[in-house]
């Protein structure tokens, strides 16, 4: 019998906007899938494309980068740099043969708790539809992650 697919999704959220929005979603008691593992970064500009690559290597099925709205970045243009890097990553994923939709950049303000929940739920759905990352491994993804911890 086929095991049900529960995607592993890593979400890099910037401290000033996306993480605060996530926090607000929590305090508003809004639910979103527990597949989402949030990692707080000072700014999405801190996210090296290498983190995304390693996340996929270690078992993530999708990686979301959530930052501030254009013009609102606390560090001026960190979010713009993140956007450019995500565009580059998508081309690289295409070269590798992995669906480029597995990596995405979204933008929101700190007060958008409801939208945070909606956005990550939508991303989770998208990854569920794509299925597991098309990599043939010797171990189950869950196992690899727990070893890394």
């Amino acid at each position: 019998m086929m095991k049900e697919f529960n995607p592993v999704i890593v979400a890099y959220c910037c401290h000033y906007c996306a993480y605060t929005a996530a926090d607000m979603a929590g305090s508003m008691r809004l639910s979103y899938p527990c597949d989402i593992k949030i990692i707080r970064v000072p700014c999405t500009g801190k996210v090296d494309p290498l983190y995304v690559m390693r996340a996929l290597q270690e078992g993530a099925d999708g990686v979301l980068i959530a930052g501030c709205l254009e013009g609102d970045c606390h560090f001026k243009n960190g979010n713009i740099k993140a956007m450019q890097r995500v565009t580059y990553l998508k081309t690289l994923l295409n070269e590798i043969g992995i669906e480029e939709e597995r990596v995405a950049m979204v933008m929101m303000s700190a007060g958008m708790g409801k939208q945070f929940a909606e956005i990550v739920t939508e991303f989770d759905d998208k990854i569920r539809n794509l299925g597991p990352c098309p990599l043939k491994r010797n171990q189950e993804p869950e196992q690899i992650l727990s070893e890394a911890v």
């Binding site: 290498l50 390693r54 996929l56 070269e95 043969g97 992995i98 990599l135 043939k136 010797n138």
Partner: protein, 221 residues
């Protein structure tokens, strides 16, 4: 700097197809500056090759290392302890570096991961443009500091040709006409009276025309 661009991933994959353990070597000089083969690019390529291999059900182990330069034997020597564990070497340096690795570690196959492009300078972040063709007999003093050999599509010494259009080359509207630039420079410098002197035919022996070149300094040996 010498500029380069990463080869398409499937080309690199085709080189390492028979191998499971590779040594991926970057260079901290030119290819770092043009973001093609430095430490970061080595990490990214390593990840990409492992992901692509996993997709095909193959486990690829990558030993990542970046040398100060790959064109000096002293730095290349430092790789010696890593060679035993490698079935193949993939170099992200320019052609000079790849050849030095191949020369020193002849028993292992060495593959280039980048296409070496040109000698150039940075115009702005993320943009590098060709500036020098290594002709061996620099005439930049005569042309206002703009090289017609590297920057004129027809390497004219007495340009511009009839295809110069709004300061752009006939080949592409994105390409500056080198001679239009030289003329503007001459106007700025007040040396336009020199324009009508004919620059005579070049002796290409100082360049690649005389065969592969060497510089030998007796005082430094």
């Amino acid at each position: 700097m010498i500029t380069a661009e990463r080869k398409p991933l499937d080309e690199i994959m085709s080189y390492i197809e028979p191998y499971h353990r590779i040594l991926l070597v970057g260079c901290n000089e030119c290819v770092t500056v043009c973001a093609a083969g430095g430490r970061k690019e080595v990490a990214m390529l390593s990840s990409a090759l492992q992901l692509a291999s996993m997709k095909n059900g193959k486990t690829l182990s990558v030993n990542e290392l970046t040398l100060e330069r790959q064109c000096d034997p002293e730095y290349v020597d430092t790789l010696a302890p890593q060679i035993e564990g490698a079935e193949a070497i993939v170099s992200m340096a320019c052609g000079c570096g790849v050849q030095e690795l191949a020369r020193r570690y002849g028993q292992v196959r060495v593959f280039p991961a980048v296409n070496t492009k040109f000698m150039g300078a940075s115009e702005r972040a993320g943009v590098w443009a060709e500036r020098c063709q290594g002709c061996g007999d620099c005439l930049l003093g005569l042309t206002g500091g703009i090289c017609p050999i590297a920057r004129c599509s027809k390497r004219l010494f007495n340009g511009p040709c009839g295809g110069s259009n709004n300061g752009k080359c006939e080949v592409s509207s994105e390409m500056d006409c080198a001679w239009a630039l030289i003329w503007e420079k001459m106007k700025e410098l007040g040396t336009t009276d020199q324009y009508e002197a004919v620059i005579s035919a070049k002796d290409w022996r100082s360049g690649r025309g005389g065969g592969p070149r060497k510089i030998i300094r007796e005082d430094l040996q």
